[in-house]
Amino acid sequence: MKGPLRKAGNSVLLLLAVLVLNFALIHAAPGDPVEAMVGEMGGATPEMVAELRETYGLDQPFMIQLGRYLGRVVQGDLGHSLYYDQPVTQLVLARIGPTLLLVATALATAIGIGVVLGVFSAQRRNSLASHLVTVLSLAGFSAPVFWVGIMLILLFSVSIPLLPISGMSSSTQAATALGHALDVAHHLVLPALTLGLIYLAFYSRLSRTSMIEVLETDYVRTARAKGLSRRLVIYKHALRNALLPVVTFAGLQFGQVISGAVLVETVFAWPGLGTLAFDSILRRDTPTLLGVLFFSALMVVAMNILTDLLYRRIDPRIRTS
């Protein structure tokens, strides 16, 4: 019990550090939210500027602002968006769903296809097909994400008009829940593919290397000697162990994938946390940005705990130790 408790305590401290550090970093940047707001309004009188600073408490010293903010967070209040004029929690919770859907679909695609390609490539190490998988994977990994996005739009939305260019659903509201789900799925294909392509390369290479390593271990040799079929050896005995590093990296990479989602969401106008974070940076909407960063950190912490649990499930040695 000590372990999980210590982990929970560490997680709380980590989240607090994320908040304080981000608050300080944003505060250190030149300009303040009111200047950005006034710029967007097309100008304002000095009196109006002073009034806005007072309204948002920005006329107070840094430590007072930080103290007030942390005090509210402890009470479960992440503040009020300066741009959307809505509670940050409400705003962020509305955007988490689309981001999780995008990230989970992209990761599932990348891991699913990546592992299949990796296993295939490990079995035919020096074949033409294996080299082709390597080249295609690396191309996907090297290409800038926004470029891949635009290219996919040009191919699948403009040249072959199969998929929508942007957004998460069509403007005409679907009559049924199933219709809406299908509409969202239709819109999800391109952004998820764009994001997934980056990680597909990584997981195919990782599972290939891991599989090659496992295939050369004694227990696999024993399984073969026992006369088990090739299929059984690979998918029952070898793959389970070969998946361990994949699961580890999937957990560790979660935060990175969320960062990647910022660009993908911007290109495809996907209404998730990424676009919210990006817009909040440009607008100096400090409470919203801090809220997004807080929830992102929370998701990464949760993902790490989930990875631990998955690890125990896949590897009985960890479970019993």
Binding site: A29, P30, G31, D32, P33, E35, A36, M37, V38, G39, E40, M41, G42, G43, A44, T45, P46, M48, V49, L52, T55, Y83, Y84, D85, Q86, A94, R95, P98, I150, I153, L154, S157, V158, P161, P164, I165, S166, G167, M168, S169, S171, T172, Q173, T266, V267, F268, A269, P271, T275, L276, D279, I281, L282, R283, R284
Partner: protein, 531 residues
């Protein structure tokens, strides 16, 4: 003053409105009732134009809220919520009679009290509220359908400020509840407007959908059932969506001149640069006039001779924009081309710099400065800044480009006067008192963005501004503004860059696309789609 039956009035208003639009659908096509127009939004913080300027709020805002008048092609006011008006001979009062039976989207009647409340709200909360209505000394509401504005001095641009973009009619019963109007929750949730369309879905993360208001005060209008504004922030994505027909109509779309050729080739797509005159977006090189070297007019003149804005307009912007000649947009009724010109002449520029005492130093340089490049409108500012850097290098002037990572950083530098020079741009707005005076008025040298941040003060120019602000005779006013344009070009307060490439793209299925000076910021009462 006259009063007519609502039916007759509706006909008059419809006819008046029809004159403010031109046909872009197939010739002879009859306006069709129903249908959906899909446009786009780049994101908005509020739907209430009373507290926010700019196109992002103004485009949907002018559909949700009505104004007292509309502005026609000739910049003359036309009836809208006000069916008639009378200006007193001394120009110090205006009386408006409102149309009968007009209602807000919640069914409550629109009365003179709502108009009074709206005007006071705009005056006190809109960034240009004081410039537009600061001279309104009193507002009388002798009857629910009559309102009288009393002015402390004549305000020649008053009527142009009374259309929906700048003076939306707000429901007093919703907003007058003691809450701060700038952050009032009803600016975004359960919005109750007075215009032809009402909010059906407001999801700023994804889309805004407006639907026809059946109780709109002009009978038989609007034609459209629905206007949809999906959020599309990336200009390139907008181009592709226009090409593919996912967007029917796009104004203020940030389309680059280089992308225009692609759209021109697309089937069923029409483009126009009309409809931007009232806002008049201009670009300029702003120099901090408080400090050397730009406190010396000779240096500014040297730069004006070195920067060939004709080349920028023709080559860099593909010949699709007018070279800037002064503080007024070419679409502004007071625009004058009769201003001092500074022909491209590098030799003269070098001689002027020598005269100003900026000869070559031991390192072969004259001077160096930092040129700030804002993050907004990169398609205009980026190429212009790079061209200026290259041109001035020929004069042995080192220009360091400082690209702002975001809007706030740039605003902070300029509004605190902590800069050498910056690429900049601003809107004229329908009357120079709103968008032009602010840059030259000695009293407006303030730490506020888009004020007189460069620190220019000339008593003669100030006198011109004061005279033009109250001059009611159109010709005399035009001559005052002509002189103003000459004077600021003589003083080289700014070096004007080519005008903005403002273009509206629409599908050929869109009929009566608005092309008045307010363009997409005018109500879409007459717009229809053919399929």
């Amino acid at each position: 003053m006259f009063h007519k039956s609502p039916k007759f009035l509706s006909g008059v208003l419809s006819a008046a409105l029809a004159t403010t639009f031109t046909l872009s659908a197939p010739l002879g096509a009859e306006p069709r009732e129903g249908g959906t127009l899909t446009t786009f939004t780049s994101g908005y913080r509020t739907l209430n134009p009373a507290v926010q300027s700019g196109a992002a709020t103004g485009q949907p805002g002018s559909q949700i809220f009505a104004g007292l008048v509309l502005i026609g092609e000739d910049y003359q006011p036309q009836p809208y919520l006000a069916k008639t008006w009378k200006v007193a001979e001394d120009g110090l009062s205006v009386t408006f009679d409102l149309v009968d039976d007009a209602t807000f989207h919640d069914g409550a009647p629109i009365t003179s009290e709502d108009v009074k409340f709206s005007l006071e709200t705009v005056r006190d909360n809109h960034p240009f509220g004081q410039a537009m209505f600061g001279q309104v000394a009193a507002i009388e509401t002798p009857a629910p359908d009559r309102i009288e504005l009393r002015l402390s001095q004549p305000v020649p641009g008053l009527m142009r400020s009374l259309q929906p973009l700048l003076m939306p009619i707000l429901p007093k019963h919703v907003y007058d509840d003691g809450q701060e109007i700038k952050t009032h929750p009803r600016n975004m949730e359960n919005v109750v407007g007075s215009g032809p369309f009402m909010v059906e879905e407001n999801n700023p993360a994804e889309r805004l959908t407006l639907v026809k208001y059946d109780g709109f005060f002009i009978e038989g209008r609007p034609y459209l059932d629905r206007i949809v504004y999906p959020l599309v922030k990336d200009p390139l994505t907008r181009v592709l969506m226009l090409e593919k027909g996912e967007i029917d109509y796009a104004a203020f779309a940030g389309i680059r001149p280089t992308d225009a050729a692609r759209l021109e080739r697309a089937e069923g797509v029409e483009m126009t640069t009309e409809g931007y005159g009232a806002l008049g977006y201009i670009h300029y090189l702003e120099m901090n006039l408080r400090e050397a070297p730009f406190d010396d007019r000779k240096v500014r003149e040297a730069l004006a001779h070195a920067i060939d804005t004709g080349f920028l307009a023709k080559v860099i912007f593909g010949g699709r924009v007018a070279p800037g000649t002064g503080p007024l947009h070419t679409g502004n009724p007071f625009y004058s081309a009769d201003v001092p010109g500074y022909a491209p002449d590098m030799e003269k520029a070098a001689a002027l710099l020598d005269e100003a005492g900026y000869s070559l130093d031991d390192n072969g340089k004259r001077f160096s400065f930092v040129l700030d490049v804002p993050s907004w409108n990169p398609q205009a500012h980026g190429p212009a800044a790079e061209y200026i850097q290259a041109q001035l290098a020929k004069l042995n002037i080192d220009v360091e480009l400082r690209r702002a990572p975001d809007f706030g950083t740039w605003v902070q530098r300029i509004s605190s006067w902590d800069y050498d020079a910056t690429m900049n741009g601003s809107f004229n707005y329908p009357d120079p008192t709103i968008g032009v005076h602010r840059h030259f008025d000695c009293d407006n040298i303030k730490n506020v963005i888009w004020s007189n941040t460069q620190g220019y003060c000339n008593e003669d120019v100030d006198a011109l501004l004061k005279a033009a602000a109250v001059e009611t005779d159109l010709d005399t006013r035009a001559s005052l503004y002509a002189e103003l344009q000459q004077r600021v070009q003589e003083d080289l307060v700014f070096i004007y860059m080519p005008q903005d490439y403002s273009v509206t793209v629409s599908s050929d299925k869109v009929g009566n696309a608005p092309d008045t000076p307010f363009g997409s910021l005018a109500p879409f009462t007459e717009v229809y789609v053919t399929e």
